[in-house]
């Protein structure tokens, strides 16, 4: 009996030493080495692909933002600022419930199923809003023109992109609100549409932050070059 207790203790001691050694290799040396190389070779990407406009950081190319009007008194959710291209809905985003000394964004999806009443309601409401917001005199939008990504929440809630179809749908509205020529705005969208990588990987998309930065340039008359 004593020897079996002794054996078990020896074995657990070996297990602990193995864990500590492997922690040193995989949990200290490896991440530090990778960080060193990444920071040396690709600091911009390793630090979050931040985008600057007029000398100020305005976000990350990879992280979606909201483009809303300031919250008015009594309002629970801010209304979209229709001057700017609008991103996808993000009903799954949350705020931190622990470590509340910070105000963190919690990435996430709605996790609602296709037959969930709340989701059906969200999609229906979003569709009506997209149709209403984007119809301008002479250019009505029909519900069948609204692409799926415009009315559904993404997986992370931080999707930085919209589909080219949703960007096109917003061109008339954005041009009207900013008193710009539609053709100019359409050209801007075309310039900011990324195709599939190598022609078949991923999906075509438009980065909303980059597009809105270019749009602001156009509005302020600094041009798009």
């Amino acid at each position: 009996m004593n020897s079996s207790v002794g054996n078990s203790a020896r074995l657990l001691w070996a297990g602990l030493r193995a864990l500590l050694v492997l922690t040193l290799v995989c949990g200290v040396i490896y991440p530090l080495a990778v960080t060193g190389v990444a920071q040396g070779l690709m600091p911009g990407r390793a630090n979050g692909s931040e985008v600057s406009a007029n000398g100020k950081v305005v976000g990350s190319e990879l992280i979606g933002q909201r483009y809303d009007l300031p919250l008015k008194k009594g309002q629970e959710t801010a209304a979209p600022d229709l001057k700017w291209f609008q991103p996808r809905p993000s009903n799954g985003l949350g705020t931190n419930s622990v470590n509340t000394q910070y105000s963190l964004i919690l990435s996430g999806a709605t996790n609602r199923s296709g037959d969930n009443e709340e989701l059906i309601d969200w999609v229906t409401t979003a569709k009506a809003a997209v149709v209403k917001d984007n119809s301008v005199p002479g250019h009505p939008v029909s519900p069948s023109q609204v692409p799926a990504d415009a009315v559904t929440s993404s997986a992370s809630g931080l999707d930085p992109d919209i589909s080219p179809a949703y960007a096109d749908l917003q061109v008339n509205r954005v041009a009207a609100r900013n008193h710009l020529d539609t053709a100019q705005v359409r050209k801007l969208v075309d310039q900011h549409t990324d195709g599939r990588i190598l022609g078949f990987v991923g999906e075509p998309r438009v980065n909303v932050l980059q597009l809105n930065i270019a749009l602001r340039g156009l509005v302020n008359g600094t041009g798009t070059r």
């Binding site: 074995l11 657990l12 070996a14 297990g15 193995a18 864990l19 492997l22 995989c26 949990g27 990778v34 960080t35 990444a38 920071q39 070779l41 390793a46 630090n47 979050g48 950081v57 305005v58 990350s60 990879l62 992280i63 809303d68 700017w84 996808r88 799954g92 949350g94 931190n96 419930s97 470590n99 910070y102 105000s103 963190l104 964004i105 919690l106 990435s107 999806a109 709605t110 996790n111 609602r112 199923s113 296709g114 969930n116 059906i120 229906t124 569709k127 692409p147 799926a148 559904t152 929440s153 993404s154 997986a155 992370s156 931080l158 999707d159 919209i162 589909s163 990588i197 999906e203 998309r205």
Partner: protein
């Protein structure tokens, strides 16, 4: 190009890439586990452990090594989380509560990576990098070690020897996982994944004001999370978060990482038992199921049945634009047919049938191609069952790879395949019968039941993905899913190693004309049928109440 065609081309690109990696990686791994030489760094590590890497172990000794290492790992990871509040480098995050710390420790050691916490608000640099990511490496290395021990059991002749656990653990980590992880992490950074040790910092916004961001060693954790089929995300949104999976190319690369070791291990297996064709038969079985599931998933997701998706005009809820329906479907199948559980889209918002496919993928036992190591040993157990069934048909003692499958062997294999379903179905039934667990559901009706069935399926099969509407951070779920993960990981390993020991003591019998050709397409077909029938008979009633009911209603 239509999205469907682009999706199909991405699958083809994966097949080509996996095909190119198959031979070199499979042969390399066979060399790693057969070589008599030790690297200098390995010798130093053996000294620190106090292990003698050349000592051969019989199955009880090998098993004791696995269990001792894993037990220490659970305890260490538990304490690390409990002490987080006092550890430097933890962003000032508080310690994790006992039930959640237990759940998380069990989860990462069991190669499951079920997460009842939100990564970005709960886990600081030290726990993520020094605790969770380390288990991503070593739990995968343990999985490969057990698979290799079983393969040695088939290859051995009356020795009963299965190799040395400490040597297998160290070699798998140092020679296989680490080199691929270093290169892969840099590829991910090049795509845009972050890799820094910044604290939580303010970043300006377009409309003014600022938002708070986490920094972190994300790329280095992301790569091993996929490569080791672990799946625990740095952020709550997992591989859907742009900092973990920035574009279509990183997405395809991550799917490749998930699949590459499990598939290539069939070559390692063929090499080590002295017949590459035996490995090809197993590979074909895995490949057929994987491609079949991928095709079904793409079909149902592109067809987008379900009231909300029909109104929206596509199943884009819970999916990212840069991956689209195609890239999301391929990822969902790869992650649930292996023990990964990383997600780039949220399975709960898949179509009813799509959600069912993810669940069935796990319920097959995650063997097509399965987790790192666990996929191969799970599939070899199925092969043992298949030769047993074939033997019953013709009335002769079945053999596999020259080893007789007698009463003892078949009992061990049967125990293996019974454990996980027993855990899944019993825990689900109890949770449904109790009054409170149901309060955690987000959706009602058939989908609500699916949330709980999915949770235990994912836990007991060591997957870790979720129908994430379920609020799993309750004492009940933290405790029961924690137990399901530990039992679902280590009990099967007991039977695998016992089987390996039993096989290793046998003298191989020469093949005769009556021997079943287990290297032929006929056997692959039999194996696919066996897998489907066993999983089907076990889980059909439960699936009928959940995803099938939902899918047929829409």
């Amino acid at each position: 190009m239509s999205p469907v065609l682009a999706g199909v081309l991405q699958v083809l690109a994966l097949v080509v890439a996996l095909g190119l990696a198959y031979r070199p990686l499979g042969d390399y791994m066979a060399g790693v586990y057969s070589s008599a030489k030790h690297l200098r760094v390995e010798k130093w590590m053996y000294k620190a452990i106090g292990a003698h890497p050349n000592t051969q172990m019989r199955w009880p000794a090998y098993l004791r090594g696995v269990l001792a290492f894993s037990a220490v790992s659970v305890l260490f990871l538990y304490l690390l989380q409990r002490l987080q509040g006092s550890l430097p480098g933890s962003l000032g995050f508080a310690s994790i509560d006992p039930d959640q710390a237990f759940n998380t420790a069990a989860s990462f050691v069991a190669n499951t990576n079920w997460q009842s916490y939100y990564g970005e608000q709960a886990m600081g640099h030290v726990v993520q990098t020094g605790g969770l990511a380390v288990q991503n490496f070593v739990s995968a290395a343990v999985g490969i070690a057990v698979a290799v021990a079983l393969v040695r059991g088939f290859a051995a002749t009356r020795t009963g020897e299965l190799g040395n656990f400490w040597a297998d653990l160290v070699r798998g980590t140092v020679r296989i996982l680490l080199p691929i992880a270093v290169i892969g992490a840099l590829v991910l950074v090049a795509c845009g994944a972050i890799q820094n040790f910044s604290g939580i910092h303010e970043v300006g916004q377009f409309t003014g004001g600022s938002q708070q961001w986490n920094g972190g060693a994300v790329a280095s954790q992301e790569v091993i999370k996929e490569l080791g089929t672990n799946g625990g995300g740095y952020f709550n949104a997992n591989s859907a978060h742009p900092f973990e999976n920035p574009n279509g190319l990183s997405n395809l690369f991550e799917i490749f990482l998930i699949l590459v070791i499990p598939f290539a291990l069939t070559r390692t297996f063929g090499r080590m038992v002295g017949s590459l064709k035996q490995g090809y038969a197993i590979l074909a079985t895995m490949g057929v199921i994987w491609l079949g599931f991928t095709a079904l998933m793409m079909w149902t997701e592109f067809a987008h049945h379900g009231p909300a998706f029909e109104i929206a005009g596509g199943a884009m809820e819970g999916k990212e634009n840069r991956f689209g329906v195609g890239g999301s479907s391929i990822f969902a199948v790869a992650t649930t047919l292996t023990s990964t559980g990383a997600v780039n889209s949220f399975h709960s918002s898949f179509t009813g049938l799509g959600g069912g496919i993810t669940m069935l993928g796990m319920q097959l036992g995650e063997i097509a191609p399965g987790g790192t190591g666990s996929g191969l040993y799970g599939m070899l157990i199925m092969a043992v069952i298949a030769v047993f069934i074939a033997g019953l048909m013709v009335g002769r003692t079945p053999e596999y790879l020259g080893k007789k499958i007698g009463t003892r062997e078949i009992k061990l294999a049967a125990c293996y395949i019974l454990i996980t379903p027993a855990l899944v179905l019993c825990f689900t039934a109890v949770a449904m019968a109790l009054p409170t667990p149901g309060n955690s559901m987000t959706n009602s009706g058939a989908h609500g039941f699916s949330e709980i069935l999915y949770a235990y399926t994912s836990g007991a099969n060591n997957n870790g993905s979720a129908f994430a509407g379920l609020n799993a951070d309750t004492q009940w779920f933290n405790t029961t899913i924690g137990l399901a993960m530990l039992l679902g990981r280590f009990l099967p390993m007991v039977f695998v190693l016992a089987l390996a020991g039993s096989l290793a003591e046998q003298r191989p019998v020469p093949a005769t004309v009556g021997t079943l050709g287990t290297h032929k397409p006929l056997f692959s077909g039999l194996l696919v049928a066996t897998i489907m029938i066993i999983a089907g008979l076990t889980y059909f009633p439960a699936l009928a109440l959940g995803p099938l009911a939902e899918g047929l209603a829409s």
